[in-house]
Each structure stands twice: as C-alpha cells, then as structure tokens.
Amino acid sequence: MVYAALVHLALIALVVVGFRWQSKPPAAPAKVMQAQAVNDAETQKEVERRKKQEERERKAADEKRRQEQAKAAEQKRKDEDKRKAAETEKKRKDEAQKAEARKKKDTEERRKSAESSLKEQLAREEKERTEAKAKAEQAARAQSELARIEGLIRQKVERSWVRPAGWTKGMECVVRVRLAPTGEVINATISRPSGSPAFDRSVENAVYKASPLPLPEDKGLFEHFRELELRFRPEGQA
C-alpha cells in the first residue's frame, strides 16, 4: 500500500515536476561521431546502422537521462514531499500541541475553578463546623461555669444559714432572690413558706447574710443569676 501510494505520489510529482523539467532541459551529454567514408553502401548501411545505433543509444541515453531525471525528480519530489509532510506533520503536531495545551489549559482552568469552588465550600463548611464547635464549646463552658458558680453560691448560703432548732426533715422553703450585677441581694422573698416563721426567717437571713453572692467573671452570664430560686430543704440530723 505504501508502495502504491508512493508510486502514485511519484506519478503526480512527475506531472508537476515534468513540466518544469521541459521548460528547462538539462544539458544532455552529446556523443559526437566522426564520419568516415567507408563502403558507401556498407557505409551507408553502417551509417544507417550507426545512425540507428546512435539513435538507439541516444534514445537509451535519453531514456536513461530521462529516467535519471525522473529519478532525481522523484527523489526531489520525495524529499519535497517528505519536507512537506514533515512540515505538515510538524504543523499538525504544533497545532495538536497547541490544542492540547489549550485543552490542557482549559481543563486546568476548569479543574482549578472547580477545585477552588470545592475548596471554598470546604472552607465554608469547615468554618461552619468550627463556629458550631466553638458555640458548642462556649455553651459547654458556660454550662460548667454556671455549675461552678451555682456551687459557690450554695456554699456561701449554706455557711450563712443558721438552721433554727426544731427543723425537721421534709421542711421546705423556697425563696426568690434578685441580684444586682455586683452580686448584692436586692431582695429575697419567700415564694413558698415552710409553715414555720422561724424557719422562713432563717432562710431569708441566710440569703441576705450571704450577700454579695458569687457571680461568674463573664458578665454575659450574669443574666442567669439576675433572678434565682433557692430551695431550702434541710438534711442530716435534726
């Protein structure tokens, strides 16, 4: 197949190149014969033969030359073809390369943009996660701080509470306490009396005596302590 293609190419090339070759014939080597008068007839014959010979030879030479020329042309054409093919190939390759590059660039760009949007999303989610975590941690911190302060308040009130003689298990007195941001007890009112005025009084006094009550350093948590309920329920040996 390749051969056939080449032959075809050669033929086409021949047509194309042949024209050039006709318009510019190469200097053909001429074989000069020295005429001799020999037997005329013979000579004639000879001349004839020679003429024929020469003609033959000339023809052969022509043929040869033509063939050589064709060959050269062929070669040249082939070379040219090769060059052209190479050029074309190169061009094609270049273009392909360019296309590839472009494509690559596009892909890269697309990938990059996709990547960046993914990154953004991830970042966004990460940020949300972090914020949520921070909020959760803050809430947990607030919780433990509330519990800590609650404990401190309990301790201080218990230290201040003089349980009156005659208290019994099951007695209960609930007191509502309003605090200033300094922890000072603004007022303490019995919301559920125990039934024993002495017990209730001891409860009120315990709250006022414990004033100021401990508060969290974080002022933001004060709201939890602005209003408190203290439930007095004595335990232990009466």
């Binding site: 999303q121 989610e125 949300e128 996660r129 949520a132 909020k135 959760a136 809430a139 607030a142 919780q143 509330l146 609650e150 308040i153 309990r154 009130v157 218990e158 230290r159 509470w161 003089v162 349980r163 009156p164 003689a165 005659g166 509502r176 024993s196 005025p197 002495a198 009084r201 001891s202 009120e204 006094n205 315990a206 006022y208 005596k209 709201e223 939890h224 302590f225 209003e227 408190l228 309920e229 203290l230 439930r231 007095f232 329920r233 004595p234 335990e235 232990g236 009466a238």
Partner: protein
C-alpha cells in the same frame, strides 16, 4: 456535605435552644446544709440615766433567757462595732459586720415615784426594720418580770411561737435543819429567780402538778406520815385534800380541761391508775394488772393517758384510753423508761430513760418512735416540758445535791438554773401565764 451541615444545624439549634431555656428558666439552687444553732442576736447593754442604776440589768436577763432557750445565740459584746441605746443610733451595717440577724437595744430610766421606765426595740438587721418596740413603767421589783416579757416578745417576733420566759416553775426543796430536813414547795420565775414558798413541811413533799389554768397545784405530802394528795390554790393559798385512801395516794395528773385528775392509788391492794372527777370526787379505775402501774399523764387532746408499768419486767411507758381500754406499749428502746409526759402539741413525750444507774432526760418522737436522749448526766429525773414544747426542765445532781436544769428540745443547749441552797427536785413547768404584768405596750 449537606448531611454534615444539617447535622451541624441541628446540633446548633439544640445548643441554642438549651441556651435559651437556660436563659428563660430560673436557676434553682438546693440548700440542704447549714449551721445548726440559735439565731444570732446582738443585745446591746441598755442605756440608762447616769448615776441611778436600776436594781436589775434588764438586758442581761433578756440575754440569759434567749440563750437558755437554745433558739438564740446572743453575740459576744466584745465584737460590737457600736452600742446604740436609741433608734437614731442604730446603723444596720454595723450589725451585718458581726453577722447579727437581730438587734435588741433599750434603756432603763428612773420614772416618777421611784419607778423605772423600760424601753426596748427589736430590729431585723437584714430587712433594716424595727420588729417591736415597747415601753413599760414598773417598780424595781418588777424589772425581772419586764425583762422576761421582753424576752417573750423577742422570741415570738423572731420564731413565731409563744415564749415561755414569763411562765413559772414549781419544785420541791429540801434543806437540813439540825438533824431533820425541811421540805418546801416553791414557785419561781422560769429562770429560777424570785422563788416563793407555797408550802413548808417537816415531811417529804413530792409530785407537784399544775392545773391547766395555772392557778392550782396538786401535790403529795407525807405530813400525815403517809402519802396524801392535796390541791392548793397558788394565788390565795387555799388548800384541800383530794385523796387520802388507804395505802399510796400519788402521782396526780390534770386532765387538759382541768375537770379530772388521773392518780395512782393502792387502796385495792395493787398500785393502779384511777381517774377522779373533781366535781364529785368519783373514781374510775383504769388499770388492773399485777404489775405496778403509775405516773399517769394526759395527752393534750385528752384522748389518751400514758403511764409507767413494769408489767414487762422493767419499767416501760404504755398508753391507754381515759377509760382504761386499748392498752399498748409505747417504749421499746432501753431497759428503763419512766415518768413520761406529753409535749403541748402531742407529738413528743419527755421521759427518763436509762439503765444500770444512769438515767437521762429523753424525748420520744411518737410518730417515728425515735428516742432522743437529751442529757448526759447520770441521775436525771422528773423531766417536764415547757408549755411551748421547746425546752425541758429536769432535776439532776451536782456536787451531791439536787439541782434543776433546762435543756432545749434539740438537746443542744443545757443550763443549770440558779436556785438557792439545798436539794432541789421534782420540777414542774407551769402552763402559759394567763395574768400579765403592768404592760404599757405602747410602741415608741
């Protein structure tokens, strides 16, 4: 990604909701522990008029009363920042510093006709307000009585219960006179001061018992060389024999309405409990047991009579109806339980509880059956409730002789009563005083 985000949202929402609920719901803190003790009260020495010293330190009497009750802890005057004697000098902050919950100030000044004007004010330190303020004009001999009234007012204002400082106590003293003894039935203030002799005898006197109205005392006297039951009016001294049956006549106990006496008689051979109707001296026998049954006492509602019986082999407390039915044993703890009587609210008995030569004043909480020993001295006897049930008067021994002591019903505060020489026994705390002293109860 979306799931994570949604999860996050849910978590966040939950947290925020939790936060919100924290913010809206009121924080409740449980208080279960405290210091068991008396209410800290600052009693400032009363002011007066320079040179003229009243015959009684009224503030000191008030302080001793409040301390003895166990309900108050008077603060040491050394820590006082100020010593106000009238309203204008009171600075509440001064008293919060020393952790006082209440403040008592006052003055005793000479008044016309050798009398004294006593003023006092009681303050709530934390509420910064006056709770009581009274003025009295009395003779010097009534200053202690006024002091007890002031103590009662303070007690009532601060505890919501009636004070017993103006009530009286009855008891028996025994003094050596040569080779013999002299016995006296006496009545004194609740702190043992101002004793008045109701009856004096060369023979033993025992078991004084106040009538519910506080006007009469029933008691047992050996003046006829055998125990006979008498009743005596403490106001006019009028006296009558109640029971002089053969054998023992003893252990009188008034019914709550004052119309009957439960008593112990051995006229039928064995020591049994009877009820006598005072209007016609009719007798009903309540017990019928080969063991000794004695020391009856009525419940405040009149529906039960408790008594001591050794029917189980050792003295224990039993309960029955006033007709002698439904007898049941009440005490099970301890080898020896005797001489029981009810608190005014009927929830407790005070009794002598012990074993092997050690006898203590104790409380029996009827609902829980918990027996609470109040004293640690070895020979305590005749415990008697104060009419408000918050203190118990009993006899004990100190230096080889009988003395009276009081203990708060939580057992925390015990104090010997100041009484004159001699052996003192058989105390009985009076009911609430019906009569009042000249109280000019004007709030200044």
């Amino acid at each position: 990604m979306r799931i994570v985000q949604q999860l996050m949202n849910i978590i966040l929402a939950t947290l925020l909701a939790g936060h919100a609920s924290l913010a809206s719901a009121i924080l409740t803190i449980e208080i279960t522990q405290g210091v068991d003790g008396g209410l800290p009260v600052a009693i400032v020495p009363f002011g007066g008029a320079g040179k003229d010293h009243p015959p009684q330190d009224v503030a000191a009497v008030v302080e001793a009363d409040l301390a003895r009750s166990g309900r108050f802890t008077p603060l040491d005057k050394k820590i006082f920042v100020s010593r106000p004697t009238d309203d204008k000098q009171v600075v509440f902050k001064d008293w919060r510093i020393v952790k006082a919950e209440a403040l008592v100030i006052g003055s005793v000044k000479p008044a016309a006709q050798g009398r004294w004007q006593v003023e006092f004010r009681l303050y709530d330190i934390y509420k910064e307000k006056q709770l009581a303020g009274y003025s009295y004009v009395v003779g010097g001999d009534r200053l202690r009585a006024v002091a007890h009234q002031i103590s009662d007012l303070i007690y009532e204002k601060l505890t919501g219960e009636q004070g017993v400082f103006s009530t009286r106590i009855a008891y028996i003293t025994r003094e050596s006179v040569g080779k013999r003894f002299n016995y006296k039935l006496q009545i004194a203030d609740s702190d043992g001061y101002n004793p008045v002799t109701v009856l004096s005898s060369a023979e033993p006197l025992i078991s004084p018992a106040w009538s519910p109205d506080g006007t009469r005392i029933a008691y047992v006297s050996w003046e006829q060389r055998r125990p006979i039951l008498y009743m005596q009016n403490v106001v006019n001294g009028a006296r009558s024999r109640i029971a002089e049956f053969n054998g023992i006549n003893s252990a009188p106990a008034w019914s709550p309405d004052g119309t009957k006496l439960a008593l112990t008689l051995s006229r039928d051979g064995n020591t049994e409990i009877y009820v006598m109707r005072l209007s016609d001296s009719s007798l009903t026998r309540l017990t019928s047991n080969p063991a000794a049954d004695t020391e009856p006492a009525w419940s405040p509602d009149g529906r039960n009579i408790i008594f001591t019986s050794d029917r189980s082999g050792k003295p224990q407390i039993y309960r029955m109806r006033p007709d002698g039915s439904d007898v049941e044993r009440v005490t099970f703890e301890g080898e020896y339980n005797a001489r029981a009587s009810y608190s005014a609210d009927g929830s407790m008995l005070t009794l002598v509880s012990g074993a092997q030569g050690r006898y203590h004043a104790a409380l029996l909480h009827l609902q829980s059956s918990v027996l609470q020993v109040l004293t640690d001295t070895p020979l305590d006897e005749s415990p008697s409730f104060a009419p408000n049930g918050r203190m118990i008067l009993y006899a004990t021994e100190r230096g080889g002789r009988g003395v009276l002591a009081s203990v708060s019903s939580d057992g925390r505060v015990r104090q010997l009563l100041k009484l004159q020489e001699g052996d003192v026994r058989e105390p009985a705390w009076s009911p609430f005083n019906r009569s009042t002293t000249n109280n000019q109860g004007a709030t200044p």
